[in-house]
Amino acid sequence: MPELSINKIKMGGAIRNWYMAALFVLLFAANISAGVLVAPTVVFLSETNRTGRITLQNPTDVPQEVNIFFSFGLPVSDSLGNVSVILQDSVTGDPKSAMDWVKAFPRTVVLPPGGNQTVRLVIKPPDDLPDGEYWARIVVRSQDARGTVPRADDNTGISTQLNMVIQTAIMLKYRTGELISNLELTSAGARLDGNIVQVMLDMVCRGNVSYMGILHSRVLDKNNNEIGRGKINLAVYRNLRRRIDLPITIENSNPPYRVEVRITSEGRTDVPPPDMISGNEIVRTLNLE
């Protein structure tokens, strides 16, 4: 065999071995950390586009049984400004609920290891809907599809098998007519608690769509030196009280401190620009209590 050919084989084998090793390492890392993936994080449908889809992927090394159903749940807040989403599976009677109008195909699927599945969504809203946005949660429920069959010797002892089930809830928004995104900041305050600046904001959605944006906050000292900052994604569907805790660096800073808050609908990277409804911007400066 010519020397060049031998070298070529050796080199090709080395490259192949290196890449295969890297592939196995990375795939192993993926398998031990990932569940069923669901994309996108928000589905937008409209009167001119009443069908959509989500993509499911099983990167694990076991088959996953996946069920898709619909629920209703908006971000709501408590008096302390903590935000939660409570899913309601039954008919809510909420005039903004779209959960009864939407269907998924298929609703149940077993995803093999590494498998993908596209789930089609079709919405049939009532004809006389007022302009605005209507909401539902798409809930993707997944668990190991292999199941558990009790062993023959199970009658000699007592044991448990707790099945770990994962539900990922993503928002579906159906839009119709003229859409307005508008947010009002009804009250705002900030106070210092040790090395944390706590900002409390009360917001009301005044548009007919949910206000989606980013809440930027900066803590400045007397000399305009920035000593803390924060940035969170914001979604306000109706009323929302939101608390933000901003760790600050007090050393070498000069009081009094103040907080600059800016809420904008620009800059969201998790929503395609055509689906963003541009809204108003709010800028407020808060002196610490």
Partner: protein
């Protein structure tokens, strides 16, 4: 000519393997989507996985058995990945009992108001402290201010207590522990 051909073949192999690796691995952090009006790439999908089951081991009749959330080997561990620092909603739906597959007997399972912890720094169940997230939490009301950790991962540790009766039927008792996750900023 010969050296050039060998170089080209190597280059081609590298390109093929690189493309294959990209195709396999890229969906783990991003999934393409499209619909009738727009297309784009979602960079920050949220995912959750049960990386360890809640395991009580062998159980004796009339002898309750507890597993703390700080038990590295036996507590349940859920791993949530997503956009760093994003606010998330976590909701556990827990069984009140586990039952035999034929439904002939069941056994009480209890989750107390301090049986969970939420870890945003991804330490371990036994080493988590208050500065790593939230400890001694009620699993029925996980912290409403929970976030994805700065490294893009948050973990939930869950313990519980199983209470067999004096005449508990031998066998394997099963039940579901459901974790529901969602972003609260979208």
């Amino acid at each position: 000519m010969g050296n050039w051909s060998i170089f080209n073949i190597r280059l081609l192999k590298l390109a093929i393997v690189t493309v294959a690796l990209w195709a396999i691995l890229s969906p783990l952090s991003a999934l393409d989507f499209s619909d009738g009006t727009a297309s784009g790439t979602v960079l920050t999908i949220i995912t959750a996985a049960a990386t360890q089951d809640l395991a009580f081991g062998n159980i004796l009749q009339a002898v309750p058995k507890s597993i703390g959330y700080n038990n590295d080997a036996s507590s349940a561990i859920f791993t949530i990945t997503g956009e760093a620092s994003a606010g998330i909603n976590l909701q556990l739906i827990l069984p009140e009992y586990v039952s035999l597959s034929d439904g002939s007997d069941r056994m009480t399972i209890i989750f107390s108001s301090t049986d969970a912890a939420v870890d945003t720094t991804t330490v371990t169940p036994s080493t988590i402290s208050a500065s790593d997230g939230w400890i001694n939490q009620n699993p029925y009301y996980l912290p409403a201010s929970a976030v994805i950790g700065s490294a893009g991962t948050t973990k939930i540790y869950l313990g519980g207590k199983i209470v067999p009766s004096v005449d508990q039927t031998p066998g394997t008792y099963s039940g579901d522990i459901v974790l529901s996750v969602s972003y609260n900023g979208s």
